[in-house]
C-alpha cells in the first residue's frame, strides 16, 4: 500500500489483537492433555483401546488463533468504522439544515434568537426588558443595543428590513440547531409502531431491515483513511456496488407491503428509477476502475495519490465520469431532483408513508447514510481520497516544501476525506434547494436515453486513455490539462447561450412567448 499516515488504526488494531492473542496463547497450558482413557471392548469393537493424548490446548489455540485474531480485528474495526461513520454523519443533516436554510432565506432558530433584539425601526416589541422588575432590564438594554448595532438590520425601511434582511448573520448563529439531529432521533424512537391492517406483516418488517442493513454494509468497504477500514478485499469496489444496489429491493418491498395505493405507486416508481440509474452508475464506476487499474478502492486512491502511479486526481482525467457519477448517485439516493418516489406533492412520502417511529427514523437515516456514502465515494474515486489538494506540488516547492510536507503529514487522511465529502454534500444540498422534481417517465427517459450512452462513452474514453497514454508511470501533466480544458470548453459551449431570441424559441418547444408584457406604466426600473 503506497499511501500512509500516522493514524494507523488498522495497524494498531491488528497489533493489539495479535499481542493479546499471543498472550492468551502463552497463558494456555502447554502440556498435552493426556487422559489415557481405556475404552473397554463392546459388541462394536472387539479389542479395548486407549485414547491417548487428545488435545493440546496451546496447539489447539494456535491453530485457531489466526481466525480468532481476524475475527476480533474485524469486530473492532467494524465498530470503529461504524462509530466514525455515525459520528461524522452528524455533520450531514447539520449541513443540510443550515445551508438549505440560508439558501431559502429561512433561518429558523437563528431568526428566532435574533428576534430578541431586532424589532421594527430598531425597537423590539415593547422593549420587553424594561418591564422586568427592579430595573434589572437596564444592562439587558445595553446588551441589546450593542447586538443591534452589530447584528441588527441594515435597511432603512423598517418593514422591509423586518422580513427582507439578507445580511450575513454571523458565525455564532451556526450553533443553534446542532442538537436537532439527536432530538429528532429520540422523537422517532418514542413513536408508536403502527402496521396497516391488511399489510403483509412479514414483508413490512423485513423491508426496513434490508434497506438499513445493506446501507450500513456499504460502509464496511469504504476506507475513511489509508488505515481506517473495516475490510479490504481485492474486489472491494465490486462488493460495495453490489450491496449498494440491494436497497431498491427493500424499497419495493416497503411500497408493496403497506397495502396502500400511494405507496405501491411510489415503490414501483422507485424500483424503476433505481434500476434505470444503477446501470450508468456501474458503467461509470467501471470506467474509474479501468483507468485506475484496480477494483480495490484503496488502490484506486493510491493510484491518484502516488508519485509513481497516476499522481493526478481522477476528476481531471475523466470529468465526464465525475459528472455522471454525481448525477446517477443523486438519483440512487433519491434526492431532489430525482425524488419522485417520495414526492410529497402527490404521494405524501411515497413508499415509506405507512412507516412510523424508529423504522421510519432509521430508513430516513439510511437515506442520509447513502448520500454520505455517495459523497465519500466521489471523494475517493475522483478527488484523490485522503490527499490534500496539490500535496505533491506543494511538497516539491523549493524552500517551504519541507515544512509544508511536515505540516500536511500531521493531518490524518481522514480529515481530508471528510472535508471533501462534506463539501460535496453541500453541493447535493445546493442542488436540492434549487431544482425542481423531474417526472418519473422523464427520469427514466433521461437515464436510459442520455445517461446510458454517456456512461458508455465515458467507459470508452477511460479504456482509450489507459491503453494509449499509460506507460506505468505518472500521467503526463499535459494530459489532464488537455482533458479538463476540452471538457470545460464543451460544457461552456453547451451551457451558455448567446442568442437570447433563439434561446426563447428553443425554450418553448411549441414556440410560445408572452406577447403583451407588462410594459405600460414604465415602473420597471
Amino acid at each position: 500500500m503506497a499511501s500512509s499516515d500516522w493514524l494507523d488504526i488498522v495497524g494498531w488494531t491488528e497489533s493489539m489483537t495479535s499481542w493479546s492473542m499471543d498472550n492468551v496463547h502463552d497463558l494456555m497450558p502447554s502440556e498435552d492433555i493426556d487422559l489415557q482413557v481405556t475404552v473397554p471392548s463392546t459388541w462394536a469393537w472387539p479389542d479395548p483401546f486407549t485414547i491417548g493424548p487428545i488435545f493440546n490446548l496451546q496447539d489447539g489455540f494456535a491453530s485457531i488463533q489466526p481466525a480468532l485474531e481476524a475475527f476480533m480485528h474485524a469486530m473492532i474495526m467494524s465498530t470503529v468504522v461504524f462509530g466514525m461513520m455515525m459520528t461524522t454523519m452528524l455533520a450531514i443533516p447539520y449541513i443540510e439544515r443550515k445551508f438549505i436554510g440560508r439558501l431559502m432565506d429561512r433561518l429558523g432558530a437563528t431568526t428566532t434568537l435574533r428576534s430578541l433584539w431586532v424589532g421594527e425601526s430598531g425597537v423590539t416589541g415593547g422593549e420587553w426588558w424594561n418591564k422586568l422588575p427592579f430595573g434589572v432590564g437596564g444592562p439587558i438594554g445595553w446588551v441589546i443595543g450593542a447586538l443591534n448595532k452589530t447584528w441588527g438590520n441594515s435597511h432603512e425601511l423598517e418593514t422591509i428590513s423586518r422580513v427582507n434582511n439578507r445580511s450575513y448573520h454571523g458565525y455564532w448563529f451556526l450553533l443553534p440547531g446542532f442538537f436537532q439531529a439527536f432530538a429528532d432521533f429520540f422523537k422517532f424512537a418514542t413513536k408508536e409502531h403502527i402496521v396497516p391492517r391488511d399489510a403483509d406483516k412479514v414483508v413490512f418488517e423485513v423491508a426496513p431491515v434490508i434497506i438499513l442493513s445493506t446501507t450500513i454494509m456499504v460502509f464496511a468497504f469504504v476506507p475513511f483513511g489509508p488505515h481506517i477500514y473495516a475490510a479490504n478485499p481485492d474486489l472491494s469496489l465490486l462488493f460495495m456496488m453490489a450491496i449498494f444496489g440491494v436497497a431498491p429491493l427493500g424499497v419495493f418491498f416497503a411500497g408493496w407491503a403497506s397495502n396502500n395505493k400511494y405507496t405501491l405507486i411510489g415503490g414501483m416508481r422507485s424500483a424503476a428509477q433505481l434500476t434505470a440509474y444503477e446501470i450508468p452508475l456501474l458503467i461509470t464506476v467501471l470506467g474509474v476502475a479501468v483507468l485506475s487499474g484496480s477494483f480495490n478502492i484503496i488502490e484506486i486512491v493510491d493510484f491518484q495519490i502516488g508519485r509513481e502511479e497516476g499522481n493526478v486526481w481522477n476528476i481531471f482525467m475523466m470529468p465526464l465520469g465525475a459528472l455522471l457519477f454525481l448525477i446517477t448517485m443523486i438519483a440512487e439516493v433519491e434526492r431532489i431532483p430525482f425524488d419522485m418516489p417520495e414526492a410529497e406533492a402527490e404521494l405524501v412520502e411515497g413508499w415509506w408513508t405507512e412507516y412510523g417511529g424508529i423504522r421510519w427514523g432509521l430508513m430516513f437515516a439510511a437515506e442520509y447514510m447513502r448520500s454520505y456514502a455517495a459523497c465519500i465515494l466521489f471523494a475517493l474515486f475522483f478527488l484523490g481520497g485522503w490527499e490534500a489538494p496539490f500535496q505533491h506540488t506543494m511538497a516539491d516547492l523549493p524552500w517551504v516544501g519541507g515544512m509544508v510536507e511536515f505540516a500536511l503529514s500531521l493531518i490524518p487522511g481522514v480529515g481530508w476525506i471528510l472535508l471533501k465529502a462534506w463539501g460535496l454534500f453541500a453541493v447535493f444540498v445546493w442542488i436540492r434547494a434549487s431544482l425542481h422534481r423531474v417526472r418519473t417517465d422523464q427520469i427514466l427517459e433521461f437515464g436510459w436515453r442520455y445517461l446510458l450512452p454517456l456512461s458508455l462513452l465515458h467507459l470508452v474514453l477511460a479504456i482509450a486513455i489507459r491503453l494509449l497514454f499509460w506507460d506505468g508511470g505518472p500521467w503526463n501533466i499535459m494530459l489532464p490539462i488537455a482533458i479538463t480544458a476540452i471538457s470545460g470548453g464543451i460544457f461552456v459551449i453547451l451551457a451558455i447561450d448567446e442568442d437570447k431570441d433563439a434561446l426563447e424559441i428553443q425554450r418553448r418547444p411549441y414556440s410560445t412567448q408572452a406577447v403583451v408584457k407588462a410594459s405600460p406604466g414604465s415602473h420597471r426600473d
Binding site: I100, L103, M104, D105, R106, L157, T159, I160, R162, V163, N164, K261, Y262, I265, R269, I336, P337, D339, M340, A343, E344, A345, E346, V348, R432, A433, S434, L435, H436, R437, V438, R439, T440, D441, Q442, R507, R508, P509, Y510, S511, T512, Q513, A514, V515, V516, K517, A518, P520, G521, S522, H523, R524, D525
Partner: protein
C-alpha cells in the same frame, strides 16, 4: 396493472385546500377524475340573509382568504349597485390600490405554493417573504393581515395612512426587482420547463364555454378581462393592459398559466404605483374616516324588487355577486345573496384537463389553475 381509483384528499399536501380529487389511474396514466367539494361549506349565502349590508363585508373577506380584498370589493360593488350609491373618485383609487396589491399577494401565494408542487422548495419561502411586504401594506390600509373589512358601501373605511405612499412605492419597486429572482428559479430551470410545458392543454373557446376566465383564460392567447369588458372603478384612468400569453396550438399549458400570473404581478404593481401618483387629492393627504372624499352617504335599505349584480375580476377569474333586496328589517338585510366563485367552475374543468396525463402531472395541472377552496365552498 389494473385501473384503480386513488383518492387525493381531503387531507393532502397538494390540493391547496380542503377537497377531494378522485383519480382513476391505469399505471401512471390518469384515465378519469371526479372532484368532490363542499368540505368547508360554511353557508355564507344563508348567513348573509340575516346580516346588514355592512356586516356582510366581513364574510366576503373570508370567502377566499388568500385574496380577501378582491372578494370584499366584489361584494361592495354589487351592494352599491343595489343601493344605487355613487362612490367618490378618491375612494375608487384607494380601492384600486388595495385590490391590486391584494392581487399581487394572491399571486405570490400561488407562486410560492406552485414551487413545492413541482419540487422546488426554495421558491416558497422567497415568495412568502415578498408577500409579507404586501401584507404589511395591506395591514396599514385595512388593519389586519388577512381579513381587512376594508371597503364600505359608498367608499372605504379609512384613507391612506401617513407615509403609506412612500412605503408602498419602495416596496413595490423592490418587489419588481425580486420578480426576476423567481423567474430565474423557474424559467431558467430546464426541469421546470419540461414539467410544465406540454401539460394540461386548454383552448380558449372551450374554457369560455366551461366558464373559466381570468388568468387561466388569458394564458390561451386572448385578452379578455372584466376590467375593460364590463368596466368598473378607475381602470380607464391608468395605463395598463392585461398580460396575454401566446399559447401553443393545442391550447394553454401550465407554463402559460404560470407566465401570465407573473406578468400580472408586474402589471398590478405598476397599476398601484400609477394610482398612487394619480390619486385625486394626492397620496400624502389624509382624510379622516367618513370624510365625503372617501365615503359617500349611502342608504341602508333596499326595498323588495330591487337587485344588484356586479362582475369583478378576481385574482382567479370572474367573480360575481347577485343581491336581491327586500329582506328582514324592511330591507335592511338582503333577501338573497348569491356568490359566483371562479374556482368552483374551474375545478371540474381542470379535472377534465388532467385526463390523459401522468399522475405526476396532477399537482402541476391543478396548481397551475390556482384553486382556493374557501371561495369554492363558500
Amino acid at each position: 396493472m389494473a385501473e384503480m381509483w386513488i383518492s387525493m384528499g381531503p387531507q393532502h399536501p397538494m390540493t391547496h385546500g380542503l377537497w377531494t380529487l378522485k383519480v382513476k389511474v391505469d399505471g401512471e396514466t390518469v384515465v378519469d377524475t371526479e372532484p368532490d367539494l363542499g368540505y368547508i361549506h360554511r353557508g355564507v349565502e344563508k348567513i348573509c340573509e340575516s346580516r346588514d349590508f355592512t356586516q356582510i363585508t366581513t364574510y366576503c373577506d373570508r370567502l377566499c382568504y388568500a385574496s380577501a380584498n378582491t372578494w370584499s370589493h366584489a361584494y361592495i360593488y354589487a351592494a352599491e349597485d343595489l343601493l344605487e350609491v355613487e362612490v367618490p373618485e378618491r375612494a375608487e383609487y384607494i380601492r384600486l390600490i388595495a385590490v391590486e396589491i391584494q392581487r399581487i399577494a394572491s399571486h405570490l401565494m400561488w407562486l410560492g405554493a406552485y414551487g413545492p408542487d413541482i419540487g422546488n422548495l426554495s421558491i416558497m419561502v422567497w415568495c412568502l417573504r415578498e408577500r409579507e411586504m404586501m401584507m404589511d401594506l395591506l395591514q396599514e390600509l385595512g388593519g389586519s393581515r388577512m381579513h381587512y373589512n376594508f371597503p364600505r358601501v359608498g367608499g372605504v373605511k379609512r384613507d391612506l395612512p401617513y407615509g403609506f405612499a412612500q412605503r408602498a412605492r419602495a416596496k413595490l419597486k423592490l418587489f419588481l426587482n425580486r420578480i426576476q429572482e423567481y423567474e430565474a428559479l423557474y424559467d431558467e430551470s430546464t426541469i421546470f420547463l419540461v414539467r410544465s410545458q406540454g401539460v394540461g392543454y386548454a383552448k380558449p373557446e372551450e374554457m369560455v364555454n366551461h366558464g373559466v376566465s381570468g388568468p387561466n383564460l388569458r394564458a390561451g392567447g386572448v385578452n379578455y378581462d372584466i376590467r375593460w369588458a364590463h368596466p368598473y372603478s378607475v381602470y380607464s384612468e391608468l395605463d395598463w393592459a392585461p398580460p396575454v400569453e401566446r399559447s401553443s396550438i393545442k391550447g394553454a399549458d401550465c407554463y402559460d398559466r404560470y407566465r401570465v400570473r407573473v406578468e400580472e404581478m408586474r402589471v398590478s404593481a405598476s397599476m398601484a404605483l400609477q394610482a398612487l401618483d394619480k390619486i385625486p387629492g394626492g397620496a400624502d393627504t389624509h382624510y379622516e374616516p367618513e370624510d365625503p372624499m372617501i365615503l359617500a352617504k349611502a342608504p341602508s335599505r333596499a326595498p323588495e324588487g330591487t337587485s344588484g349584480a356586479h362582475h369583478f375580476e378576481d385574482s382567479r377569474g370572474e367573480s360575481m355577486f347577485y343581491i336581491a333586496g327586500g329582506g328582514e328589517g324592511r330591507g335592511k338585510q338582503p333577501y338573497r345573496v348569491s356568490i359566483r366563485s371562479p374556482i368552483f367552475i374551474t375545478i371540474p374543468f381542470a379535472a377534465k384537463c388532467m385526463i390523459g396525463y401522468k399522475v405526476a402531472d396532477i399537482p402541476a395541472i391543478m396548481g397551475s389553475f390556482d384553486p382556493c377552496i374557501g371561495e369554492t365552498d363558500r
